[in-house]
């Protein structure tokens, strides 16, 4: 495929602008007359708002206006919605409470927006915000997942009695119960999946610009999916019709899921721009990010895994409570259901699976998809359970996994998914070999001699990516289709623009998408530009999340390219007086196979645009569009091994080595794929060892800055050992599966399995902070 095509370690085309300070992020944007917004937010986790008096603030220096929720409501701006309908097992629809972009009479979490101050400077806006008097009547709050449904718990929404949003199930409960009743062994465990804040380094920001003369809005925003933002703001929030609203997501400094959703601030800044007649910019500070960016995970589960006398898994039964926070965020309902329970078969042949999932409201930040989204929860639950079972059964963790691996494909699980390809043992073997698993006991002995505790742990993950076949997700409740679009625009001189609905915010699309085109046509990568992130340029798209850009976004590019190539071949055949089917495209030329006749790519492009000599009836130009709707999910899988050394005096964990063996199918750019895995592992290690969102009993967020929320830093992490196995994905033209989330999915259980192995106490919850490990060690001895 050449040095710049598929499979090549091409350094990134986009790097230079970021390395020289020329990246353009939303907060870098300034337009004439622009003013600054400051959001007034609830300091209470739960309160009635009895009155807002902004009269003093309005007359303060630099203040343009102070606007509140009643005005927003009067202007017909709609409520925020959750776009995935889930029905409870009794057939009733999920109980969605009203989420006003600016709260009107009740606030339900610390950080809930109430009003906006627009002023000449941010300092003046903040000064004025302090002069707005809000009369609150505090109400009791509930924050903990496990107690939200308890009798007497404070109630958040009248629509949802007992704070229960839905009580949903998947799989065959009777079959699971029967298998458990007749099992030779049943492993029971309670699993907590800790609550995380996604923390992209760029805080969210938005710039709303209303043009009164054209009655047109422009929204610069930190979004992973600007077209979805436009669709939702038009169709549901009544901001403006789509033809009157342009959404631009310029360079975006990381997302990890948290920038999928449409938040109140985009809506309010656009509306405020119309109300005040000035462009309005808002940029979150880090504390606002902790207070308002959708959080991730927060599950409490009870698990039973049944085995026959031969140690084959016969059933899995899971009862999960998932905390969705104070309101239902855009895709919140899908995360603990179809992105979670559908993966509970893991890499294992399990005849009977049943999952019951209840989701609850609490007085906390809304919870939605964060890197992995549901799949880390499923993997953590399964891999902690099977590890525990191996210890109980006295069998090696690798052996128990091997015995239960799925080995023939396609494989239909009892929980919807149809796995299309994989070789789980290949990854397991590769990981164990890279980690020198066989030499571990000797290393453990050395550590023991030095007064340290050493442990090793593995995790075998599977995920469903390439999200997603539209009809399938539609039947499961999704409010949108999850195809992707592409447009390949060949210029008259042969250079190429590829317009894609996938958005790049760190993933390197400007390079990998160009590699695909360069490889197919044999043209220089410099002659290809990738255009994304602007609803005025790209017609439509579903955006970037769920490791879908390669499998879905690039497949759409392939389809558009096929059309372009077909037309170019027709033109070339006509010009060279050859048969169309004899034309091949190679090394930047269209050749007549078996002859020395050839036309350079640019000449065919030029011919398409001069249109002096085209086949009869052909339209001029060389530009094609395609929409690609995947036929199935893709199933990346792999095996991770963590080896740790614990300092028993302090409980500190040192990650001695971390090995990842992943099967992502075909790989476009190994350099970029490795980078994705590194970053995912770091977030998984963060979850396992460091990160935890904590609220106090009154709903105050205790971890609202980097002083208290522990982010993984360079000296917390080792260098990682990676390898790739490859069973190409049969369901998309490129054979690729997706790699963006694997690291975050596979690593937490590997770490916790290693630490619990080291300390001999299985009752450890994430994050395994030094104090918790020290306490667990003392409890164990």
């Amino acid at each position: 495929m050449g040095v710049e095509g598929i499979g090549a370690r091409v350094t990134r085309k986009e790097d230079k602008r970021f390395l020289t300070g020329k990246g353009r992020y939303t907060d870098d944007m300034t337009v004439p007359g622009m003013k600054y917004a400051y959001f007034i937010r609830s300091p209470h986790a739960h309160a009635r708002v009895k009155g807002i008096d902004a009269s003093a603030a309005r007359s303060m220096p630099g203040v343009i206006d102070v606007l509140d929720g009643k005005q927003l409501q009067a202007d017909g701006i709609g409520n925020l919605i959750c776009g995935w309908m889930i029905h409870s097992k009794d057939g009733s629809p999920m109980k969605m409470g009203a989420w006003r972009p600016l709260a009107v009479d009740t606030v339900r979490y610390v950080g809930d927006a109430i009003a906006i101050v627009v002023a000449d400077s941010l300092g003046e806006a903040r000064d004025a915000a302090e002069a707005v008097v809000i009369d609150y009547e505090p109400l009791p709050a509930v924050t903990e997942t496990a107690v939200a449904m308890a009798a007497g718990a404070p109630q958040l929404h009248p629509e949802a009695p007992n704070n229960l949003i839905f009580d949903w199930q998947l799989g065959d409960g009777d079959a699971a119960d029967r298998a458990i009743a007749s099992a030779a062994h049943v492993t029971e465990i309670e699993i907590h999946n800790n609550r995380l804040s996604p923390n992209p380094m760029e805080p969210r920001a938005t710039l709303g610009i209303y043009d009164g003369a054209e009655d047109h809005y422009t929204c610069y925003t930190t979004s992973q999916n600007p077209h979805v933002a436009r669709l939702v703001m038009s169709a549901f929030y009544n901001v403006a019709p789509e033809n009157k609203l342009r959404v631009i997501a310029p360079d975006v400094g990381g997302g990890f899921g948290s920038k999928i959703y449409i938040y109140p601030e985009e809506i309010v800044c656009l509306w405020a721009s119309r109300k005040t007649g000035v462009p309005v910019k808002w940029t979150a500070d880090r504390t606002e990010a902790f207070l308002t960016d959708a959080h991730g995970r927060d599950h409490v589960s009870k698990v039973k895994m049944a085995f026959d006398a031969d140690n084959h898994i016969t059933a899995l039964k899971v009862d999960t409570i998932a905390n969705l926070g104070a309101y239902m965020s855009l895709f919140s309902s899908a995360v603990p259901t179809y992105l979670y329970a559908t993966l509970l078969s893991g890499q294992y042949a399990i005849p009977a699976i049943h999952a019951n999932v209840r989701t609850v409201y609490t007085n906390t930040v809304p919870v939605d998809a964060y890197r992995g989204a549901g799949r880390p929860e499923a993997t953590y639950l399964l891999e902690r359970t099977i590890e525990t079972a191996a210890r109980e059964l006295g069998i090696s963790p690798a052996e128990l996994r091997r015995k239960n691996f799925i080995r023939t494909f396609p494989y239909q699980t009892p929980v919807i998914m149809n796995y299309d390809a994989g070789d789980y043992e290949a990854s397991l073997n590769a990981a164990m070999q890279a980690a020198d698993w066989a030499g571990f006991e000797a290393r453990r002995a050395t550590s023991e001699a030095n007064g340290k505790k050493r442990g090793i742990g593995m995790s075998c993950y599977i995920e469903a990516c390439g999200i997603a076949p539209s009809a399938a997700v539609g039947s499961l409740g999704a409010g949108v289709g999850l195809w992707e679009s592409a447009e390949v625009r060949v210029n008259a001189v042969g250079t190429i623009e590829v317009l894609t609905g996938s958005h790049s915010h760190g993933q390197g699309h400007e390079t990998t998408f160009a590699q695909l085109v360069a490889g197919r046509l044999g043209v220089p990568i410099e002659s290809i530009n990738i255009v994304h992130g602007d609803t005025d340029k790209v017609q439509m798209g579903m955006g970037t999340y769920g490791s879908r850009s390669g499998a879905v976004g690039m497949s759409a590019v392939v389809k558009a390219l096929e059309k372009v190539e077909a037309k170019a071949k027709k033109i070339a055949a006509h010009l060279m007086e050859a048969a169309e089917e004899d034309i091949v495209i190679e090394n930047g030329e269209l050749k007549v196979a078996g002859t020395d006749k050839a036309l350079p790519w640019f000449q065919v492009a030029l011919a398409a645009y001069t249109a002096h000599n085209l086949p009869s009836g052909m339209e001029p130009g060389l530009k094609e569009t395609a929409f690609y709707d995947p036929a199935n999910f893709t199933f990346p899988a792999g095996c991770y091994v963590a080896e740790v050394e614990i300092d028993p005096e302090t409980g500190e964990t040192d990650i001695v080595q971390f090995v990842a063996a992943d099967d992502f199918g075909n790989i476009i750019n190994p350099l970029i794929v490795e980078g994705q895995v590194h970053g995912g592992i770091a977030q998984g290690i963060g979850q396992a060892l460091l990160e935890n969102v904590q609220y106090d009993a009154n709903g105050q967020l205790l971890t609202a800055s980097y002083m208290d929320y522990a982010m993984p830093r360079a000296d917390d992490l080792p260098s990682f050992k990676l390898s790739h196995q490859n069973t190409p994905c049969p369901s998309n033209p490129l054979g690729i599966k997706g790699c963006g989330e694997a690291g975050a999915i596979g690593s937490p259980p590997a770490l916790i399995n290693a630490i619990t192995d080291a300390i001999g106490n299985n009752g450890l919850t994430m994050p395994a902070t030094p104090m918790k490990v020290w306490q667990a060690l003392h409890a164990a001895h």
């Binding site: 300092g123 903040r126 000064d127 005096e649 302090t650 409980g651 500190e652 460091l690 904590q694 205790l702 971890t703 980097y706 002083m707 208290d708 929320y709 522990a710 982010m711 830093r713 917390d716 902070t769 030094p770 104090m771 020290w774 306490q775």
Partner: protein
Amino acid sequence: MYATSYHRASSVEDAVKLKSAHDEGKYLSGGMTLISTMKQRLAAPSDLIDLRHIPSLRGVRIEGRKVTIGAATPHADVAASRELAAICPALCQLAGHIGDPHVRHMGTIGGSIANNDPAADYPAGVLGLGATVVTDRRSISADDFFTGLFETALAEGEMVTAVTFEAPEKAGYAKFNNPASRFAMTGVFVAKTAGGVRVAVTGAGSSGVFRHSGFEQALAGNWSADALSNITVDSSGLMSDLHANAEYRANLVKVMARRAVASAG
């Protein structure tokens, strides 16, 4: 940040004069704590008097075994001082692990001890060394200087100009980081000085930095990590927070003390 007025002092006298002219003003040294606090609107000094440009406040001076560190000397300069490393490497090591490289380029010893954050490193070093805090008007022994959480013996308008001490025979510092902020979750400075053994603990006490007399007595009799093995650290009076409860901190105090002694040799 609330509005404030900035003044750049050219000398100690100038600084004290500026401060006395502005009741609600504050001295500003490296600003690594003060500016952050002001950004969060948790402090609102009407005026800031910048001490960073007063030449006499900057630098490490060594005469024999007497060490004088100017109040506005950044942590990086203390960490990198070869002369200091030759007679008291423990303090260089302490300074070299405050915050991060960028913070160490701005933050100063005077600013750190005048702020007396209960999780700051320097208070342990200064108290552990039995140093003297020199101000624009007097000298204060470290034992009298640190009076409580964010509290010191400094009078209104009084300004730290230097810290002086006799280099100890031996000293060591061991610190266990808060996993989030990287401040000391517990830091212990041990020193064998002419006036006896001193052990100072930061990051752990609910009233800020404190001396541990039990450790001091044990080490006076036997300068070795093992001398501390049988001493129980009382967890009452220790801080409890998200990251470490008092019981765990009590454990860390002992472990870090042992490691500090071991590192002192």
